[in-house]
């Protein structure tokens, strides 16, 4: 399986945020997207997921087989929001996403233990702290199998120990043949990790056209 982006451009509200992004990720590889606020990291991830239309270029999955023909069917998207219902318990939330997304992988309890939330599955999601909520959302990545993880600031609100643990989870996902695209400043500690540095923002918020600069290890 390969994730390929060619000359990708994205816009928000008619303003071009970035253009000319290209990369190719083999299975087991990771792409770390960095850049200052407003440089288009979130927009890039949403464009890759297909939640925003592409302004130009192409992004696709190759040789995903019958199970994962498209990016939408092959990806876990973890955005700024946790996509969990505060009125339901943590376990109910996870069980729902496991059933809805299909391709069940870890059990709910097991996934919660992996993110260090073992034994609190019965609590309503609304009772958790910010960091615990984020960890529960990360457990969502583990209950269903998806080869491609699209992560937008996945460690926001996490403490140091949880960050390290999550870096380990990403590394393990890559080691098992997955692909990770993450907008994060966290060092992944992976040999094959590529870096994409988005251009610096203009003085005005959401300003003029910006070319993304390319980091090392890219096409």
């Amino acid at each position: 399986m390969r994730l390929i982006a060619e000359n990708l451009g994205g816009e928000r509200g008619g303003e071009r945020i970035f253009s000319g992004i290209g990369f190719a990720l083999e299975k087991g590889q990771a792409l770390v997207v960095t850049g200052p606020n407003g440089s288009g990291k979130s927009t890039l991830l949403r464009v890759i997921a297909g939640l925003l239309p592409r302004a130009e270029g192409d992004v696709r999955i190759e040789s995903g087989g019958e199970t994962f023909p498209t990016i939408a069917s092959a990806c876990h998207y973890l955005g700024h929001l946790n996509a969990m219902k505060t009125a339901l318990s943590v376990a109910e939330n996870l069980r729902f996403w496991r059933d809805f997304n299909g391709d069940g992988q870890l059990g709910v309890e097991e996934a919660l233990e992996t993110v260090g939330l073992g034994g609190i599955g019965h609590l309503p999601f609304g009772y958790l702290s910010t960091g615990q909520r984020r960890r529960a959302a990360i457990a969502k990545l583990l209950v269903s199998h998806r080869p491609l993880w699209l992560l937008d600031e996945p460690t926001a609100g996490l403490d140091k120990a949880s960050e390290t643990r999550f870096a380990g989870l990403m590394a393990r996902h890559c080691a098992e043949g997955g692909i990770v695209v993450a907008a994060t400043h966290l060092p992944l500690g992976l040999d094959g990790a590529q870096a994409l540095v988005m251009g610096s923002p203009s003085p005005l918020w959401g300003g003029s056209i910006r070319e993304a600069e390319r980091g090392g290890g890219l096409l």
Partner: protein, 246 residues
């Protein structure tokens, strides 16, 4: 800190779920939405209380003319139920949008059609928020001095007709999902489109008691409207949601 290195890695044996498509996902979504509508903040009771308030007010406004009340009863029940239906519609997709679930539901489009997801959400919304109105309608019919046959006919037409209102409302809710205070806009968008449902629902209710008027024909048209909108509504709403993500 849990060490993940020596944890079991997910092997094919752990992936116990068969590669089924459809049933499991659908059932999970229905259960979640019904659970949410029952729990605190869900709003299953809000509609019933609003319905009760509307119907209980009418006799005070109309006056103690029992014959008149019985005559306008079916129409008043239908109007009350229609307005109560519109009350909770704005939360149909907005709640999912606010916590980020909507993105994942849209991404699921490639596995199970988004229109199917919308249909399932509509049915769960109907079961959680609108069905209580249908159940409450016979009781409220007593307020209007309606005879048992008339009450039964009105409850039956409400049972058959209210899903159509939910399906039309889903389109309005999908169009207005990005608007922070879309509730009123949805009502204004949806209300004119629900008029045919109201007309045939009320005329079937009258047909059951007023002798020369037919019951079956308007009732069948009402059922046809519901079936037609069960297809058109979710497809249109899915289209609006697909292009509404930002």
């Amino acid at each position: 800190m849990v060490s993940y290195d020596n944890r079991r890695s997910p092997t094919p044996a752990l992936r116990a779920d068969p590669p089924h498509k459809g049933e499991g996902e659908v059932l999970a979504l229905v259960l979640r939405d019904i659970r949410l509508s029952i729990r605190a903040g869900g709003g299953a009771l809000t509609g019933v209380i609003f319905f009760l308030a509307v119907i209980a007010t009418i006799p005070f406004g109309v006056g103690p003319d029992l014959k008149l009340l019985a005559r306008i009863g079916p129409a008043i029940l239908w109007i009350g139920a229609l307005l109560a239906c519109l009350l909770g519609l704005d939360r149909l997709f907005q709640a999912d949008r606010e916590d980020g679930s909507l993105d994942l539901l849209v991404l699921g489009n490639d596995r199970h059609m988004l229109a199917l997801t919308v249909l399932v959400k509509c049915l769960a919304h109907w079961a959680g928020s609108v069905l209580p109105l249908v159940v409450a309608a016979p009781l409220l019919g007593l307020f209007m001095n309606m005879e048992p046959l008339s009450i039964g006919a009105t409850a039956l037409t409400l049972l058959v007709g209210t899903p159509a209102i939910t399906f039309i409302g889903a389109v309005g809710a999908a169009v207005a999902v990005a608007l922070p205070r879309g509730g009123l806009l949805i009502s204004v968008l949806v209300l004119p489109l629900t008029i045919p449902v109201l007309i045939f629902g009320v005329s079937a209710s009258y047909g059951a008691v007023a002798d020369p008027d037919p019951f079956l024909q308007p009732f069948l048209i009402l059922a046809a409207l519901t079936l037609f909108l069960a297809v058109l509504g979710p497809v249109a709403a899915a289209l609006a949601l697909r292009h509404g993500t930002d």
